[in-house]
């Protein structure tokens, strides 16, 4: 599908280009108010002395008022009082007296002043000066670091990303205290001007993928970006695919281990989800927990996940195909009991399966959207409708209920919601194939999917690595997880990876 990138020639944030910083502080404050449309949370204060004056302004809630009140205003007052000597003297050397170790920038551009103000800077104007001083002192209310709700695990760190980028980057820094850890900043979105960072470990990262990712992010001409999911769609490789091509995660430990593997991560202000790329199909079946648990258990669980994915994808279709085309493949006793269940049912097996799957999808969607207190009501209705009533009313057979519920459970066994979603959608198409051509149809569709998968790329890297192209060495951490001591890369274990 062609990408629809907006080509807005005059972005709204550059309309104030003509304005300059006036020598009069009052004039400057007035100008800001005008440009921002007299905002209610804009705070400004002019401190006047005999010959000179300075003005502070900021947006309430974006900065730390405490810092300003204690460490900026008192020393400035003192300094200005001391130097308040003549009418023409412009006081400049106050920088060292501002007692916060944050960035202090000087600018002469009024547009930059506005930008910084909105990003949580404190702006300082000095009477008769043509420069504005920007003190970076962002501090706003954030959610505390909590356990990620979308990817829970039994063993492993409980920290999850939050909506604040600076906290998220700290979470990674704490895990990788390596001087080669890099953060590259981009601004994306013509309207939202969102900060996006790409993080990687220099020397380890796949350079091609990094180049492609940076190129695509900086080329991205979207108007607004609120979540990494939107960004993901904008920087994906061309062509339609039902599969996700970047891994999304809320877990800093997952991101850190991906960085150590030579992948890169993309994080964004305002969302706890980070993207990891380049992704491979197999990486959607691996969890961070695989490496925290013993290798034999992890291997077993990983195989379970593959089986579950296959069940979620193909079980209803296989059921339809076997009962309507290939009855000879079913053991006689099972066939007889299936036939007994089918006696007197009004719909063909396909319709039965489609109806039940749809009912389940509705229930699942309702379960996510409904207000919390109504939850039990929906699940009770769901359980009764699916489990009991439909069967005893003679609408569907008990076997299809088992099939649908097994499928549903299996689709939850996947650690990544996004790939489970792919199986969820493709399942319906597969059912149509199964109903029109039986097992043959299932094979055809599976073949189509396989051909699609091997041609798929994530950030320019093949998606089916290490199966296609095949690499025997990498098999030790794909379907199976071999113990860590099998690894021959000793230097990595000793932490000397970058020397």
């Amino acid at each position: 599908m062609r990408r629809n990138r907006s080509k807005n020639a005059s972005p709204p944030n550059h309309t104030d280009d003509s304005l300059i910083i006036s020598k009069d502080v009052e004039q400057n404050i007035k100008q800001i108010k005008q440009s921002l449309g007299e905002p209610f949370d804009f705070i400004s204060k002019i401190y006047s002395f005999k010959h000179t004056a300075f003005a502070l302004c900021y947006i309430d809630g974006l900065i730390s008022t405490e810092d300003i009140e204690l460490n900026v205003i008192p020393p400035m007052m003192d300094w200005f009082k001391e130097n308040d000597s003549s009418r023409d003297y412009v006081i400049k050397d106050f920088k060292q007296h501002i007692q916060i170790p944050k960035k202090l920038k000087t600018t002469t551009e009024f547009s930059e002043v506005l930008q910084s103000l909105l990003r949580g800077h404190v702006i300082l104007f000095v009477q008769k000066g043509t420069e504005a001083y920007l003190i970076s002192d962002q501090r706003w209310e954030t959610r505390g670091i909590e356990e990620p709700s979308s990817q829970t695990m039994v063993r492993g760190p409980r920290e999850g990303f939050v909506e604040t980028l600076s906290i998220n980057s700290t979470l990674i820094r704490r895990r990788i205290t390596n001087p080669k850890l890099r953060f590259k900043t981009f601004i994306v979105g013509e309207v939202t001007q969102t900060t996006v960072i790409v993080t990687y470990i220099e020397g380890l990262v796949n350079e091609d993928a990094l180049k492609i990712a940076c190129q695509r992010i900086s080329d991205c001409k979207a108007k607004e970006v609120f979540e990494t999911g939107m960004l993901e769609e904008l920087i994906e490789d061309k062509g339609y695919t039902p599969f996700p091509t970047l891994i999304d995660t809320e877990r800093p430990d997952v991101v850190s281990s991906a960085l150590a593997e030579g992948k890169l991560a993309i994080m964004m202000e305002g969302t706890p989800f980070a993207l990891i790329g380049p992704a491979t199909l197999i990486s959607y079946f691996q969890t961070a927990e695989d490496y925290y648990n013993r290798f034999d258990l992890s291997t077993f669980l990983r195989l379970i996940r593959f089986i579950a994915f296959w069940i979620a994808f193909a079980l209803p279709a296989t059921f339809v195909a076997l009962t309507t085309f290939h009855q000879e493949l079913i053991p006689t006793d099972l066939l007889i009991s299936l036939a007994a269940q089918r006696e007197g049912l009004p719909f063909p097996a396909l319709v039965e399966a489609l109806v039940m799957e749809t009912v389940f999808e509705i229930l699942r969607e309702a379960g996510i959207r409904m207000p919390r207190p109504i939850g039990p009501a929906v699940s009770i209705v769901g359980a009764i409708v699916i489990g009991e009533a439909a069967v005893s009313a003679g609408l569907v057979s008990p076997a299809i209920v088992i099939v649908v519920s097994l499928t549903a459970i299996s689709s939850f066994a996947n650690p990544y919601y996004s790939i489970a979603g792919s199986a969820r959608m493709l399942r319906f198409i597969l059912m149509l194939f199964a109903a029109s051509a039986g097992i043959f149809g299932i094979f055809i569709f599976t073949m189509i999917i396989c051909i699609h998968l091997v041609s798929l790329k994530s950030l320019g890297q093949p998606y089916m690595v290490p199966f296609a192209p095949f690499s025997l060495k990498k098999q030790k951490d794909t379907l199976l997880r071999f113990p860590l001591w099998w690894s021959k890369r000793k230097n990595r274990r000793n932490g000397e990876v970058l020397k």
Binding site: Q327, E328, S337, A340, E343, A435, G438
Partner: protein
């Protein structure tokens, strides 16, 4: 363009439009076929089909009279093909063949018309597998066996199938005799086939009503396996005795790996019952000086299961005595079985086939004199059995 053409190709598969699709409730799942002689030299085919409605039990209906687990349908025709075609007019559902477990042919039919038209039809039919069991019904029509409600199993065919599968039966033939065995022996190996037989335990009683199953006496409606039916080409020639059938199973290695066996004590008429295991059989015909010689060697271990003779097993002498008794008895039985085979002039041990493989040159020379060769065949048997365990006790209690 690429997108649209691939979409078009994909949609092609839906053009089939569910042809060949059959819902389970449109099928009549057959479990057995019986073939009988009808009147005026016609063929009467009996189909046994499961009745899913009955198997659903109380779950679906509740109320409602209980129905039979399976139904049989009969149809007649000039020959097998016509009889099956005629059945289609009779049945409201499509006949579904793949789950047939056994094929029953009545003794009369096999004797008079031969089996070839049945095997031809069934082998050609694309829905029917060749791997189901073939039986000849002894002293009863195939229909009457199919029409029997048997205790413990849902249908008589299922019952017969389990009879052959159960371990430690008298015959203990590994996989039973299947249609494909019959066809292979008859047409592939140039060997006279044998087929398992089945009969009613109580020939007078009929059990065609589910009510009959309410009686506690299971024997009334039970079926049992007989000795093997011996074929001369396609026609039933004779019935083998149990002993001959067992010998046949051992010599042709069709026997289960572990089988029970019983021999009589020499003097006092008691029985020695034992479990014969780890059998190693070597049966080889050989042409020496234009003479046919058939040698059978049998080695095995036994576990004693019953002992009614006065043998002291606690002494080495007693053990040796027991082993000798068993060895001699078994040798005798193998001898008798092979002599019987020789007399019948039917080669159901596959001697011809073995000769043509092992000694092709000699066989080519002497092939035309087969009947005299076979008649004068000398038989060598050598049984070597070792008592592995006397069971949980050694000597029997002394009779006072």
């Amino acid at each position: 363009m690429k997108f649209y053409s691939s979409l078009l190709l994909t949609l092609l598969i839906f053009l089939g439009g569910c042809s060949g699709q059959e819902e389970l409730n449109e099928l009549l799942i057959l479990t057995g076929i019986g073939v009988d002689l009808g009147e005026d030299d016609t063929v009467k085919v009996t189909f046994q089909a499961t009745n899913p409605q009955a198997q659903a039990g109380g779950e679906a209906g509740g109320g409602g009279a209980s129905q039979a687990n399976s139904y049989t349908f009969e149809s007649e025709g000039e020959d097998m093909v016509e009889a099956v075609f005629n059945a289609r007019d009779l049945l409201s559902r499509k006949l579904f063949f793949p789950h047939i477990s056994s094929l029953l042919i009545s003794e009369d039919f096999a004797r008079e018309r031969g089996v070839h038209e049945v095997s031809d039809f069934l082998e050609r039919h694309y829905e029917i597998r060749d791997s189901y069991l073939l039986f000849i019904t002894k002293g009863a029509t195939a229909a009457s066996i199919l029409n029997t409600f048997t205790p413990l199993d849902n249908s008589s065919t299922k019952n017969i199938e389990s009879l052959t599968k159960v371990r430690g039966g008298t015959l203990s033939i590994k996989n039973g005799t299947e249609l494909e065995d019959f066809i292979r022996w008859r047409y592939g190996d140039d060997r006279d086939p044998v087929v398992m037989g089945v009969e009613k335990v109580n020939k007078q009683s009929s059990s065609t009503n589910t009510e009959d199953l309410n009686e506690i006496e299971g024997n009334k409606s039970a079926l049992r396996l007989t000795g093997l039916a011996l074929f001369d080409k396609d026609y039933l020639a004779d019935w083998l005795s149990y002993k001959d059938s067992i010998a046949w199973a051992i010599i042709t290695k069709e026997s289960d790996n572990v089988r029970s066996y019983a021999v009589k004590c020499p003097e006092d008429g008691g029985t020695i019952g034992f479990l014969l295991k780890e059998m190693e059989v070597k049966a080889e015909p050989k042409l020496v000086n234009d003479q046919l010689n058939y040698s059978v060697q049998l080695e095995g271990h036994i576990n004693l299961q019953g002992l009614n003779c006065k043998i002291k097993l606690s002494t080495e002498q007693g053990v040796n005595e027991l082993q000798t008794i068993i060895n001699e008895d078994m040798e005798n039985e193998l001898q008798t079985a092979l002599t019987n085979a020789k007399e019948s002039q039917l080669d159901y041990y596959g001697i011809k086939n073995q000769l043509s493989r092992n000694q092709p040159d000699e066989w080519k020379k002497l092939k035309d004199d087969w009947s005299s060769l076979y008649e004068n065949m000398s038989i060598e048997t050598d049984v070597n059995i070792y008592l592995e365990s006397p069971g949980s006790r050694v000597d029997n209690n002394e009779a006072q």
